[in-house]
Each structure stands twice: as structure tokens, then as C-alpha cells.
């Protein structure tokens, strides 16, 4: 595992990193996002974990699948993420940390 911190499931961290890149404009709308295997190699994590992270964003409509060519940043994804940041980010919080999203960062406790 490279470059990810130890807090929370890795798939959620992968999703957070990708969302952060989209919000910051590092990944432009219509641009191809790294494949599952590329993310797995980069972060040194299991490909299934990377795929789960990508699927989180796809389920939220932030990424769209193009058959045979991979995942791309959906139109309007950046605006959605920035609006979410403004709405949910408490003042004084580090601007690089995206807030938790219901459904994937708030894993139920046992």
C-alpha cells in the first residue's frame, strides 16, 4: 500500500483520492480515469479494492463507463463535487480532505 493513509477502508480512500482529483481539476471531465489495474499498481493494493473504489464514484454518476475503453469523468462531475464540498465542509477543515459521503465512508460498526 503506497500513498494511502491507514484510516478507513482502502476502497473508500481510493474513491476519495479520485474525487479529490476531479474536484481540483486534475482529472478533467471527459478524461479517462486510471484503470483498476493501474490504480492497483500505483497504490500497491488488490485490484478488487481499486475496482470497488472506482465503482463508488460510478454509482454516484461521477464516472461513466464507455464500453471497451474504460471509465471516464462524467459531465458535471466537478460541479457536483465542488457543490458538495461547499455544502459539507465545515470551516477550518483541511481543504484537501473531502467530507464523508453517506453509504461508503460511514461503514456500520459491528
Amino acid at each position: 500500500m503506497a500513498g494511502l493513509d491507514e484510516g478507513g477502508p482502502l476502497f473508500a480512500q481510493v474513491a476519495e483520492r479520485l474525487a479529490g482529483e476531479i474536484a481540483d481539476g486534475g482529472l478533467a471531465e471527459g478524461e479517462r480515469v486510471p484503470s483498476t489495474n493501474e490504480l492497483a499498481a500505483f497504490y500497491r493494493i488488490n485490484p478488487a479494492t481499486a475496482a470497488k473504489g472506482i465503482n463508488v464514484l460510478a454509482d454516484e454518476g461521477l464516472l461513466e463507463k464507455r464500453r471497451g475503453t474504460g471509465m471516464f469523468v462524467a459531465a458535471g462531475a466537478r460541479a457536483t463535487l465542488l457543490a458538495r464540498r461547499r455544502a459539507e465542509l465545515p470551516s477550518g477543515t483541511c481543504s484537501r480532505c473531502l467530507p464523508r459521503r453517506p453509504g461508503w465512508a460511514s461503514t456500520p460498526t459491528s
Partner: protein, 291 residues
């Protein structure tokens, strides 16, 4: 879907020592799973009781299954061969053998093909095993502590090449290791066998952040952990360290910071140690699955 490997009520005794005691587990096809106790799966040993199925068939002395399976073990013994002879033999055994991958791995590890295997260092012998294990591209690939004598850099080469080749050619991989935290992120699933029993069988990523150590001034620790399930409490005097179950939210982190508390997630290794300590007793870690 039929699991790649299924184990039912498996018991293995060595004289009066019980190595596996009524272990049942399944390994899904196309996953990387971390566990202990691999040799019966590879058909190199026979169960004392219970059953092992690889692709639905018993592996021991079963040629059809064994061609689809490779086992690399720590104390791998080779005939009096040169490295290139071992690779040639493997290329005959494994239908998906990739000679190009084998030579590039050996190059990464600095192992020369013309050298006699018995003249190799321990690390280079492990590198040869890893090379054969990966280049075989066998549908079931078992690595049993494959890296004796390899330093951290050389182990990272193994992890990186494993991930890259698994990504390109998905297969079922089981990796037995004592370097749990080092390998933790590679695993989709983790099975822990302690004193012969499977004490933990769960999705690896679900275990991350399952518990957190909260440490700092005792009053602040107590106020922070009030109402939370606590697994363990240490530290007499003014400082306390508490292991708290459950995920920590961003708000929790903020609050911890303002209280002057340190939050450290329990690593997989710490969770495994905890699961092992509880053996057959009750507790959150003995559940078969974790949501």
C-alpha cells in the same frame, strides 16, 4: 460460481500434533487471499480427515488438478539442476508458462540462468521460486512464505510483479505470510488459522479501520470513548490507551485533535493477533464474516 478451492472439515495431525482442526473455508476464483497452512491444498500431503476440493476435485495425486496449480514453498527443494533447467521443466508442466515473464523476473532479481541452483544464495533460490510461481500462470497459485532471504526491496518487487501479472491474468492466489502488514493491501480476503482452527475469515479491506487505538490524557480518552465498544484499556496514571471498535468519522478526528488525542487504526497484524488470542471464544473477531 464454484469456488476455486473448498475445504470441508479438514483435520491434519502430525503424530499427536493437530495442525488443522476441523477447518472449513472456500476461496473464490480470481481472488488474492492470505492464509496459513497451504501444503494439503497442493496435494502434497493428505488430510487426516475432511476434504479438500480444487475446482471441485481432490488434488492429491490428481494430474488434471495439479497441472492447473503451482505451489511455491519456503524450503523448496530442487534437483541438481541449473536455473535454466528448472525453468525448462516448469515450461513443460504448466500450459500457460510465460518464458518472457520468467526471464524478466530473473533479471530483476539478478539471477543468472546458467548458474547451478545449489550454488544460489537463499534469496536467489527464493527468487527462482517466485519466478516459477508467477510465470506458471497457474489457475491456482500458492505461495507459502516464498521469500526467505529476500530483503524488503526484493519483497516489494515480488508484490509489484504479483499485482501486475494478476491484473493482466487474473487467477486464484493464496499467499501465506508472517509479514502481515507488509502484504495486507494485496489481499482481497484474509483467513487466519490459529492452533489449527480458522479464527478469522473476512474481506481484508473491511477489516481496515475496524478498531482504533485512542491515546492521550486519561480524562480526554474517557470522554472520547464514552458509549463506544472498547476492546482493551491500558495505562495507569494520567495517560490512557484504549482500543475502540468501529469506524472513526471525520468529525471524530476533529474532536480527537481538539482534545489532544492520538488516533491510530489497528493494523491487520494487530487484528490477527487479537483474533488468535481469542481462539474459539466469543468476540467480534470470531464471526465468520464481517460486513
Amino acid at each position: 460460481m464454484t469456488p476455486a478451492i473448498s475445504v470441508t472439515g479438514l483435520t491434519r495431525r502430525y503424530y499427536d500434533e493437530v495442525a488443522l482442526d476441523d477447518v472449513s473455508l472456500t476461496v473464490g476464483a480470481g481472488t488474492i487471499t492470505g492464509l496459513l497452512g497451504l501444503r494439503i491444498l497442493a496435494g502434497q500431503e493428505f488430510p487426516s480427515s475432511g476434504s479438500v476440493r480444487v475446482f471441485g476435485a481432490a488434488p492429491a495425486e490428481n494430474e488434471d488438478v495439479l497441472r492447473r496449480l503451482v505451489l511455491v514453498r519456503e524450503d523448496q527443494i530442487y534437483p541438481d539442476f541449473k536455473v535454466c533447467h528448472a525453468l525448462r521443466a516448469a515450461s513443460f508442466c504448466y500450459p500457460n508458462w510465460d518464458a518472457g515473464l520468467a526471464s524478466s523476473l530473473l533479471k530483476d532479481y539478478g539471477v543468472r540462468a546458467g548458474k547451478a541452483i545449489k550454488g544460489l544464495s537463499r534469496g536467489h533460490r527464493s527468487a527462482l521460486g517466485i519466478t516459477i510461481g508467477l510465470a506458471a500462470r497457474a489457475e491456482v497459485t500458492l505461495f507459502d512464505e516464498p521469500y526467505a532471504g529476500l530483503d524488503a526491496v526484493a519483497r516489494q518487487v515480488f508484490y509489484d510483479r504479483l499485482l501486475a501479472d494478476f491484473g493482466a491474468f487474473p487467477r486464484t492466489v493464496l499467499l501465506s505470510t508472517h509479514l502481515i502488514d507488509e502484504a495486507a493491501a494485496l489481499f482481497e480476503n484474509v483467513v487466519v488459522i490459529d492452533r489449527g482452527r480458522a479464527v478469522l475469515d473476512a474481506a481484508a479491506d473491511g477489516l481496515r479501520g475496524m478498531a482504533t487505538t485512542v491515546s492521550g490524557p486519561v480524562l480526554a480518552v474517557d470522554s472520547f470513548t464514552t458509549g463506544c465498544p472498547v476492546w482493551e484499556r491500558r495505562g495507569p496514571g494520567s495517560q490512557a490507551s484504549v482500543v475502540m471498535a468501529g469506524q472513526v468519522s471525520g468529525e471524530d478526528r476533529e474532536r480527537a485533535r481538539s482534545l489532544g488525542l492520538d488516533l491510530t487504526p489497528l493494523s491487520l497484524q494487530q487484528l490477527v493477533v487479537r483474533a488468535s488470542g481469542q481462539s474459539a471464544g466469543a468476540g467480534p473477531l470470531t464471526e465468520r464474516t464481517w460486513a
